[in-house]
């Protein structure tokens, strides 16, 4: 497997860097020390109406040393990958820990973890995007743009693709040493119709989500393109929704984001105990409610994992050197678990972390970040059509767009790409100006049915934000279609204004 790892990364003096940093950290008094060496290559290609607006390659390279000195963290990083600099950076990290010890009131204790020596892990993908000539990528996006611009009713097309190859080396004083590589891709396309006479415009996006896949994933977007002009034209003419309570059948292309915000972030242990209180916020799902909080209906089974193929948070070992796993967060509608790192696991009385430590660059300290948090499908044979057939007056919500949730993960508001009116169990054309708004536990308790595994789709995002200094993390969320009863729907045209 090592031969699949970027040769430029393999060529770095990883063992020498580890030896220099870890030895110096131990000499200076660190009881724990870990070194990360990372090389993250990103390419972004953007086109506007078929013309290139940007082709940019970015490479972030650096080393990071994190130490524990008498229970106090110290962290330092540098862009120079020499053993001398690794040793100096380790000294710096120890010095930071000693300087700040007087005001660090907590003494850190970490869960044990078996030693994983010389482990290698590579994510599941077929074609490394960086092995595809850039001109071929631009040509594909140009073709997409031109085909849509030639369609009636499409005035503008913006398309882009972001691709990342992340290589990471980790070594610690305990003896764990891992080399990992993962690849991810995010295609995007927006078609716009402009009403030049009356003013105003509408947009329609493709639904293919960012994924832990290679360039082969672009073929999954292709079949969507043909339907975009008609969907956009229908949306332009669609009636504005009448505000009020509706039964919602929510497609996985929309529901993944609701899961992310209302379950994923709410079950992060660091948030639940206040570590993010001044920034990303806390959580209503506090540890005293573990095992008792009625999160949702009995059908609600949500798992955390960092192991599923093509998941954006999937990795072999986390940034604490922990082998990744899968576990329950909500089972039978009750809160039963949290996302943890090695610092937090002991506080819940757990012997091991579930592997959620992650830093988005060599210049950031690992913090607890989100696993792939997914709603499990029904075992029964329930299709999306079956869910729609069970609704007298409702809306079928497809695709994500706007999202917002409060700092304790209670009150949320989401829009989407496509809203289809459901009338007596059948789809009856699109609506527009729709937003749904709810309180997290009310919403999940109103979930009356979930679809079968055939309705299950892995959604996700590249850019989940958390932490200070701000870090972004890629994360996926799988879910089936699901039916929610009597959810408050706003007409966005009626909002704001005087």
């Amino acid at each position: 497997m090592l031969d699949r790892v970027d040769p430029q990364f393999r060529a770095l003096p990883l063992a020498a860097l580890a030896d220099a940093a870890l030895t110096r950290a131990r000499e200076r008094g660190a009881q724990h020390a870990d070194l990360r060496v990372e090389r993250i290559v990103t390419q972004t290609i953007s086109l506007r109406d078929g013309a290139v607006t940007g082709v940019a390659d970015e490479t972030v390279v650096g080393l990071a040393v994190r130490v524990l000195v008498d229970g106090v963290w110290g962290f330092a990083s540098h862009g120079d990958l020499t053993p001398e600099q690794a040793a100096t950076t380790a000294e710096q990290a120890v010095q930071v820990a000693r300087t700040l010890a007087p005001v660090a009131r907590e003494r850190v204790e970490r869960a044990d973890e078996p030693v994983h020596a010389d482990a290698v892990w590579v994510s599941a993908y077929a074609l490394d995007p960086f092995d595809v000539p850039t001109r071929d990528k631009v040509a594909l996006l140009t073709d997409w743009s031109q085909r849509l611009l030639a369609s009636d009713g499409v005035d503008h097309v913006q398309t882009s693709v972001a691709q990342v190859r992340e290589c990471k080396f980790y070594a610690d004083l305990a003896g764990t040493s891992t080399i990992q590589q993962r690849v991810r891709i995010a295609p995007a396309l927006t078609a716009t119709a402009v009403d030049r006479a009356a003013g105003g415009f509408e947009t329609m996006d493709t639904l293919a989500a960012p994924a832990g896949r290679g360039w082969e994933y672009m073929a999954d977007v292709e079949p969507e393109l043909a339907a975009i002009p008609e969907l956009l034209a229908e949306k332009v003419k669609a009636p504005s929704v009448v505000a009020g309570p509706y039964d919602l059948v929510i497609d996985p292309t929309n529901l993944w984001l609701t899961i992310h915000e209302s379950v994923g972030h709410a079950t992060e242990y660091d948030r639940a105990i206040g570590y993010e209180a001044a920034y990303a916020g806390t959580s209503f799902a506090t540890p005293d409610k573990l095992g008792t909080l009625r999160y949702g209906s009995d059908l609600m089974h949500v798992t955390g994992d960092r192991t599923i193929d093509h998941g954006l948070a999937t990795v072999g070992f986390d940034d604490d050197g922990v082998a990744t796993t899968e576990w329950d967060l909500v089972r039978d509608g009750v809160l039963v678990g949290y996302q943890l790192d090695r610092t937090f696991a002991p506080r819940l009385g757990l012997a091991r972390s579930n592997g959620c430590a992650f830093a988005d660059s060599p210049h950031h300290v690992p913090i607890q970040r989100m696993a792939n948090v997914s709603l499990q499908p029904a075992r029964e044979d329930v299709t999306t059509d079956d869910l729609i057939a069970g609704v007298e007056r409702g809306i079928y919500v497809v695709g994500d767009k706007s999202w917002s949730i409060d700092m304790q993960r209670y009150n949320f508001q989401f829009t989407g790409q496509r809203f289809f009116k459901i009338d007596k169990g059948r789809l009856a054309g699109q609506l527009k100006d729709v937003a749904y708004q709810a309180t997290t536990t009310d919403f999940w308790r109103s979930m009356e049915a979930v679809g079968n595994p055939d309705t299950y789709v892995l959604g996700g995002a590249f850019n989940c934000g958390k932490g200070q200094p701000g870090q972004i993390a890629p994360v996926s969320h799988g879910c089936p279609s699901a039916l929610f009863r009597s959810v408050n729907v706003l007409n966005t045209q009626a909002e704001g204004g005087s």
Binding site: V72, V96, T99, L100
Partner: protein, 461 residues
């Protein structure tokens, strides 16, 4: 980092075979983070990034390619240049293509070394926090927050002979205090260039006052309320309006500044009061790098062909009238207008002189906000945004704060709000809450809106 950044820039230009702009950004950074009255994370970081944008004549026009790489050794430079030239040579024509920026006179001292920072900048703050944690324990309060100081020095060189150097210090303090039951919360932010002007004791005292206001709890339903938005809250809304001010989008009819049929709202009154919104890279205390050292801006404009272009003071709204939008040189050439690269600061002033205390005193019944959070776009046509109030909503009655109110979700458009502002206070230096990871330098007034739309109640405290 033994190689001087200027030498990396020159090395790139010397091996380039195509017209190109080469820049090196040297960044040092130190930070502290605390929660529950104790430090939780910290760090001291250093990085140096080389960015090369090459341009090439291709069939049908000019193409550009940009490659950026963290770099420590001059031996890595040639590969970066070759990669950028490869992207340009095999690229397709760009609509934003423009001739390279020619050399021009300026006062930068190219040979000066990078300026830096270190964890020592935060020494006094750390000591002050230690005392503050003890005081908070005694008062049964919990302190949370973050302090960061970063210094970036940018060296930019061009095939045209242009050499520019810019230094950007950026500091911020966010302090959040909660009661021990976490039922009441207060926040303040400070923007600073060097932390010499940060007074932790004063900041903690201010938060204690706010937590005192919250000793009385008042439940209010959703609805439209007369509302005072303090400078940090209005900054978050105006920054979003700034990030949307793309001239080309407006001309194409697809943003809030569109007037239809290819026209924009430039020249139209969008605020009833004489509000001016402007940016100025030389504004005292808000100085920013005065030349283009980026290849795209958050309004989605490409600046790949504009490296080194001077950034000038620009007035976006002039006494209530939309005056200018963001456009690069390529679009400016096509439309016979001037390029307007966006400075990294924003100043809003309506000539008001009232302090926040005076505006509270002048309120019969209304809400006072602390800050806004999780602001996202709902409808780009109106720039309708949603978001939440956070860390203190206070009810004012007969000129005095009488208690703390529940939080709300709002749905409002900052552009529509401009037309409904009924009073503007004195403009002051402020740190926004939502966007301060990306935007640190603002001067804003407190504003009064007679009918701010609180769409639903949030249970968050």
């Amino acid at each position: 980092m033994s190689i001087a950044p200027q030498d990396l820039v020159e090395a790139a230009l010397s091996v380039a075979t195509l017209p190109c702009v080469s820049s090196v950004r040297d960044r040092t950074e130190a930070n502290l983070r605390w929660a529950n009255n104790g430090l939780i994370t910290n760090g001291e970081m250093r990085s140096r990034t080389l960015t090369v944008t090459a341009t090439a004549d291709v069939e049908g026009g000019t193409a550009a390619g940009t490659v950026s790489q963290e770099i420590a050794d001059v031996a890595e430079v040639a590969a970066v240049v070759a990669a950028a030239e490869g992207l340009a040579r095999t690229g397709r024509p760009a609509e934003d293509a423009a001739p390279m920026v020619q050399n021009y006179a300026h006062n930068d001292v190219w040979t000066d070394p990078p300026e830096t920072t270190s964890i020592e900048v935060l020494d006094d703050l750390a000591k002050g926090l230690g005392d503050a944690f003890e005081r908070a324990e005694a008062a049964r309060h919990l302190l949370y927050g973050f302090a960061e100081h970063a210094v970036e020095t940018t060296y930019l060189g061009s095939s045209t002979g242009l050499r520019r150097r810019g230094v950007q210090p950026t500091g911020r303090l966010e302090l959040n205090a909660k009661t021990a039951d976490r039922e009441a919360s207060a926040w303040l932010g400070r923007t600073t260039r060097d932390f010499l002007d940060v007074d932790v004791v004063e900041a903690v005292d201010e938060l204690s006052t706010r937590l005192g206001w919250a000793s009385t709890k008042i439940d209010l339903p959703p609805g439209r309320y007369e509302t005072l938005l303090p400078p940090g809250a209005i900054a978050d809304l105006m920054i979003y309006a700034y990030w949307t001010a793309n001239a080309r989008d407006a001309e194409e009819g697809r943003n809030v500044y569109a007037a239809g049929d290819g026209a924009t709202k430039i020249g139209q009154r969008i605020a009833e009061l004489p509000i001016t919104l402007r940016s100025d890279p030389l504004y005292p205390g808000l100085e920013t790098v005065p030349f283009v050292d980026f290849t795209s801006s958050l309004d989605d404009t490409s600046w790949a062909f504009d490296g080194g272009l001077p950034i000038k003071e620009t007035t976006w709204i002039d006494r209530g009238v939309l005056h200018e939008l963001i456009r690069n040189r390529g679009h400016a050439i096509r439309t016979g207008t001037e390029p307007t690269p966006p400075p990294d600061n924003l100043i809003m002033d309506g000539g008001g002189t009232a302090s926040l205390s005076e505006m509270i005193a002048g309120t019969k019944r209304g809400l006072l906000l602390t800050c806004l959070w999780y602001i996202r776009e709902v409808d780009p046509e109106r720039l309708l945004l949603t978001g939440l109030t956070r860390d203190g909503v206070y009810l004012i009655e007969d000129g005095a704060v009488v208690g703390a109110v529940n939080n709300f979700r709002f749905n409002e458009s900052p552009v529509e709000l401009l037309g409904r502002i009924s009073e503007i206070g004195v403009a002051e230096l402020t740190l926004c809450r939502e966007w301060n990871d990306y935007f640190n330098r603002t001067i804003m007034p407190t504003i009064r809106v007679p009918d701010f739309n609180m769409s639903t109640v949030s249970q968050a405290s």
